[in-house]
Amino acid sequence: MKALECIGLKKSFGVVAAVDDLSFSVEEREAVGIIGPNGAGKTTVFNLITGLYRPSGGQVRFFGEDITAIDPARPVTLGIARTFQNLRLFKSLTVLDNVMVPILVREGYGPAGAILLSRRHVDAERNARQRAMELLGLFRLAGKAHLPAGSLPYGEQRRLELSRALAAAPRLLLIDEPGAGMNPREIQGLLSDIREIKENFGLTILIIEHQMGLVMRLSDRLVVMDFGRKIAEGTPGEIKKDPDVIRAYLGASAC
């Protein structure tokens, strides 16, 4: 079954077409990578899928349901979670609280229950804390649960973003440049982390990445973008040999 389909997706800012007639799909439990030079429109695609931008044309479907121009607060309730390219943690909250947020959003207790400390509220909080600690353990952050998220080193903040996204119990995980600003050793760790969560949680993954090594080894298929358009699509092996891709990345003379 197709987890995600983008059909003829368009987004223009004034005269610039950031995304132009883009079509691709992601099968359930597949990992698809979007690559392309800076400014190719990759992050715009994520923002279109999650409703932060309203498409100028085209359609987005999630497990068959039309979610074009969805309210930005809704994708997570359908099972779409994302990480952000330039880290958007709740910096003044603790590491633990960051991961508890998506869990508690799904809880049903109301303000009265919160004020009176109803059993439902207390249980919900306890379960959420437990679940969050498990996730933090998975990402080797359990020891830092009570530090402010903003005080973590960069690499750990990246891992925290991933654990927060997983706390939303997504079916589809959108990962925006997880390797940005990381050294090769950290990237190696990240690669095995993402592989592991993909297996354990049965996730479908759409990932934007610049680090070729990372994205090639992680993805089942790649979509290559340049100037908002799809210029190639295929397995990592096929993409490596594609002349259009080589031209976009390395310049025409490299052919």
Partner: protein, 321 residues
């Protein structure tokens, strides 16, 4: 049950403080004037706590807190006037209604203005404050008992130590429970990053409105007590400068700290009124030279306020078990 169990520590400390104050009041050591100032400090703490929920926790910069304080004060004074209430027990529902009425106004005014952010929200709430002030100035044309620019006179003195202190402790508890529930968590998320909050399913509009409405409720209750402590209301008691008072307490205490608001409220009122006693009358007006200098010094020394985001373990205000 859990409500009281989790509050044991705070209730214990409160009981001790109450006994000390009661002894102080009965001993005759504290003059009527000083007793009044102490009660006034507790009232101001409630109003500032409301602003801390709105601004300190949720990040909504409001300069209109005094307007909601005034709405609560006038509502309660009018109700005790109409129903000829003079004792504490029948006054409790009046207090609740005053808080709820302030909250209702806050809720309604929130629809148009809470879409605004930062400075824009500040201007809108400032404007609302001016509107309320002018309304109160001319209120006698609508309802003569409100007194307009002459002031509302003849309010019964109902707010005693027991009432003010009990209401404050209760509201601190309620606020603590809200802040350390998922609602408080979502409020702080919104303050940190609205876009990420909404991406993780937090309903920004509803959560902002809830914080604002609750903050206005606290201001309304505080106003109701104020009216029945001083027995006289004048529109100038609820103008822009009063809003700044609340703002200073929140910032000095620490944005996002209940303990900080309590301490800063005591320090602020104690300081302003204390200087009135200590300074010779010729120097009294120099208060407004010393105080800003001290505030500037404080901002260098503790830019995040006295408590920053911490809570006091002693008071048992931290996260409930």
């Amino acid at each position: 049950m859990t409500f009281f169990k989790s509050a044991r520590r705070l209730l214990l400390v409160s009981a001790v403080v109450y006994l000390l104050l009661k002894a102080l009041f009965l001993s005759g050591f504290a003059t009527e004037y000083i007793q009044q100032i102490i009660l006034y400090a507790f009232i101001v703490i409630m109003g500032a706590l409301g602003l801390n929920v709105i601004y300190g926790y949720t990040g909504q910069f409001s300069l209109g807190q005094a307007a909601f304080y005034g709405i609560g004060a006038y509502t309660s004074a009018y109700l005790t006037h109409v129903f000829a209430i003079e004792s504490v027990l029948p006054f409790l529902p009046v207090l609740l209604v005053s808080g709820l009425f302030s909250a209702l106004i806050g809720y309604l005014i929130g629809f148009p203005i809470l879409r605004l952010r930062d400075d824009f929200l500040a201007i809108a709430t400032l404007g609302f404050g001016i509107f309320v002030r002018s309304f109160l100035d001319n209120s006698d044309r609508l309802i003569d008992a409100l007194g307009g620019a002459r002031g509302f006179v003849g309010i019964p003195r109902i707010a005693n130590l027991e009432l003010v202190f009990a209401v404050m402790v209760f509201l601190v508890l309620v606020t603590r429970n809200l802040i350390f529930s998922r609602y408080g968590l979502f409020w702080q998320c919104i303050k940190d990053d609205e876009l990420a909050s909404s991406s993780f399913g937090i309903n920004i509009g509803r959560m902002k409105s809830m914080a604002f409405t609750y903050g206005c409720f606290l201001a309304g209750v505080a106003g109701g007590l104020y009216a029945h402590l001083y027995t006289f209301l004048h529109p100038s008691n609820f103008d822009f400068l009063k809003s700044i008072d609340f703002l200073i307490i929140v910032i000095v205490g620490g944005m996002g700290s209940i303990t900080g608001t309590i301490f800063a409220g005591l320090v602020w009122v104690g300081f302003i009124e204390g200087l009135r006693i200590v300074l010779p009358s010729g120097l009294l007006e120099y208060r407004w030279v010393f105080i800003p200098i001290l505030l500037i010094a404080l901002m260098f020394w503790r830019p995040y306020g006295l408590m920053a985001q911490r809570e006091s373990k002693l008071l048992g205000i931290g996260k409930s078990p």
